[in-house]
Assembly symmetry: C2
């Protein structure tokens, strides 16, 4: 009875995620303008095309991207990859993104269409090889190029560009598919010389409703000048610790792309890998990317909980990461979280079947596992396993309280080294099954 | 609306699995006797202890086993492994299995208890190093050895052993935990010289209800004489094509064990790897193990569908197997099956993120994907992707009919070679979430 009531309570819990996670204002990097429009590809008339453009001409704008490793890469992924190869990431002045159709599994015509989107933007910007393209939405369908062409042309001919909060928010909206709220984050950071730079980021994700293949897209826009190789390295570092550390259902789409543009509108010497500021900026970009990535988990289909998996004191980063990932993807752990169950057995089990690179990373007599409250309440830790010994007489009242929190952490101390990895995941609910079991309509 | 009704219909579909999958009679290998009892470990008084013993003395009985690769191996796994190492699998005359308590994560006392179970059986059988032990049930709790000891002693002192159908069926029942029906299969096979041998198998699985860690246990008992190394090789071959090819939720327990005993009661020369009959017997044991393994999927928690993933024409077996496994474990594919949705995008996506050993195993222009009816109806195939091209104008009426079947096959033709792999899986339903999200009680 208790359990059924609890599940029912979870199921009926409606969280107003929009008001919780969408900011009312923001800060935006110098020298960028953005625009969006409704082309009619989305049948409900919502925004479905966005363009981010650099208007700073003091020096060339650089770009980097990390793409899906799925073998069925969508046309925009292949085309954008090519643009970055040809240009070595230099002189990229725009990103064009459409939602509603992923232009995936569309063969040669898909490539042609993706190239046409790029060419239309390049023509209007009077540039060559200067635009990246991304798409998200239904797969296996051809882009309605008449609508998309008209949308791109209208944006330029009617100069729909702006640099205010609403313009940026609308771009964040225009890339959404099954997302329940647009994901936008922005921050100003101070450099050692006192100058300020800005990061603005947008993302979309949420989940997959057939035949929509939800895509993870993320954009980080900055006015820093960053040399293109340094930008690529920084973005990969940040992505490996943010967008590659989130899990809703463990499935990876054909269109996943994280890209970053640095236009150099801030007047400082170009940042290279050997610059004194490189490490600081890389850390800031990483923390920023984590914020953005976490919003995707917050919007995880049907999720009622946001759970941080924190693996500490590992012999190496890779195994800490693998253990965090395995726990994050375990259906049994995710359903236990939904059921608010302090089920250390399932966590231990997932740790135990992780395929480690070094067996010495895991010592069953040294492992500690706890649930930790992340809301600053005291006491905040429920110890489940201490040095390999399960704690059988746990305080059930405290366990109940802790597990009813919307946000919590599973902390694993491997006790075999000093490395740390984090993952962010959500629970697996009835609602997830309803959404994803739903017949195409 | 259509989708909600469909999901509702699925959820309310109650299948009498017991009458569908539990036989009314069976055939049993010569020279074995089995017994079971209710020790009181299971609070509801159900059977929870079983013993299988060899009484044939014409030659030593051999045994082999395949154990979980989870790093947190339960005490009975460690102890049985040791017995097989010490004896090289020769002279194993009994298996003792208890349910209700998995004796997992129990440290040194767990090892002591598992050894005591073995010793009690050995004493009664007047043997040494002659017994394997298996446990399944709650983890992190110590065995109630007073009850178990009494159970073992009672079985022998009251001679509860029998070789009739009910005795075997009761052993199959005694190893169940969250299973909704006991899993028992038996068959007679004819050798080239006209002599007959018998295989009888039992299994348990179903799923995991916290803090019960459902275990996959399987036993194959035969009266063939099989040399111990040949037996180990044969069992591994069969397990890799049966119990290692099923997926309910992709989680692997601390206690999983498949074992086989061959007592040699059939008067033929001992079968070795070089025997003429070896291949035939290996094939028969493999097909038999598949039958038994499939029953575990049939009993998958909350499942409404039994789905065969058939990957053909692969460059190598390993990649065919990996692709089949990845599709089987995809939450998106499993929810689509529950929703009766011909969602080729999710299948393609799962194939695309499979980590292949050889990238040449997958050629996106050669792949064919179909749903196939397994009930001999005509037409029986719904083509989703033909040579890499998605079939957009599928017959929705036929698709609906096909996807409403309880049993179906997803057929993938990679077109890159000649190897084949099969996996058996079930869908992911609301009921699964309810069962596994349920609070410990």
């Amino acid at each position: 009875m208790r359990s059924s009531l609890r599940l029912l309570n979870n199921a009926s819990k409606v969280i107003d995620k929009y008001s919780l996670y969408v900011p009312k204002d923001g800060v935006f990097p110098k020298g960028f303008q953005v625009a969006s429009t409704a082309t009619g590809v989305k049948k409900n008339g919502s925004l479905d095309l966005g363009i981010i453009k650099n208007i700073n001409t003091s020096r060339p704008s650089n770009a980097a991207a990390v793409f899906t490793t799925n073998k069925f890469k969508a046309a925009p992924v292949l085309v954008s990859k090519k643009v970055l190869e040809v240009t070595s990431g230099k002189g990229i002045n725009a990103i064009v993104i459409n939602s509603g159709c992923a232009n995936a599994v569309t063969g040669d015509v898909g490539l042609k269409d993706a190239n046409e989107m790029i060419n239309l933007v390049n023509e209007n910007m009077k540039n060559k090889d200067s635009t990246l393209v991304m798409s998200t939405g239904v797969i296996g369908q051809r882009l309605q190029m008449d609508k998309i062409s008209k949308g791109i042309k209208d944006i330029f001919s009617q100069d729909k560009f702006g640099d205010d909060f609403n313009s940026w928010l609308n771009v964040a909206k225009s890339i959404c598919t099954t997302d329940t709220f647009p994901k936008i984050v922005s921050s100003k950071f101070k450099l050692p010389d006192g100058k300020e730079y800005t990061l603005t980021g947008m993302a979309k994700g949420a989940g997959m409703i057939c035949p929509n293949m939800a895509t993870l897209l993320g954009y980080i826009i900055t006015d820093l000048p960053i040399e293109s190789k340094a930008l690529q390295q920084m973005l990969r570092y940040a992505t490996n610790r943010s967008f590659n550390c989130i899990s809703v259902d463990g499935d990876m789409s054909t269109n996943d792309t994280i890209s970053m543009i640095a236009n150099g509108a801030i007047d400082i010497p170009e940042i290279t890998i050997s610059s004194a500021e490189y490490q600081q900026i890389q850390s800031q970009v990483t923390a920023f990317a984590q914020q953005l990535a976490q919003l995707v988990v917050r919007d995880g289909e049907g999720s009622t909980k946001f759970v941080t998996i924190n693996v500490n004191n590992s012999l190496n980063f890779e195994d800490a990461n693998k253990i965090a990932k395995t726990i994050s993807n375990s259906m049994l752990v995710k359903t236990a979280l939904y059921g608010q169950d302090a089920n250390w057995g399932r966590i231990l089990c997932a740790i135990g079947y992780t395929e480690l690179t070094d067996l010495k990373s895991l010592d069953i007599n040294k492992i500690n596992v706890s649930f930790v409250a992340t809301d600053n309440s005291e006491p905040n830790e429920l110890k489940l396993i201490v040095n390999g010994v399960p704690q059988l007489d746990i305080d059930e009242t405290f366990a109940s309280k802790l597990l009813s929190l919307d946000d919590l952490e599973i902390s694993i101390n491997l006790g075999t080294g000093k490395e740390t990895a984090k993952f962010w995941t959500c629970d697996l609910s009835h609602e997830y099954v309803t959404i994803n079991g739903d017949y195409r309509s």
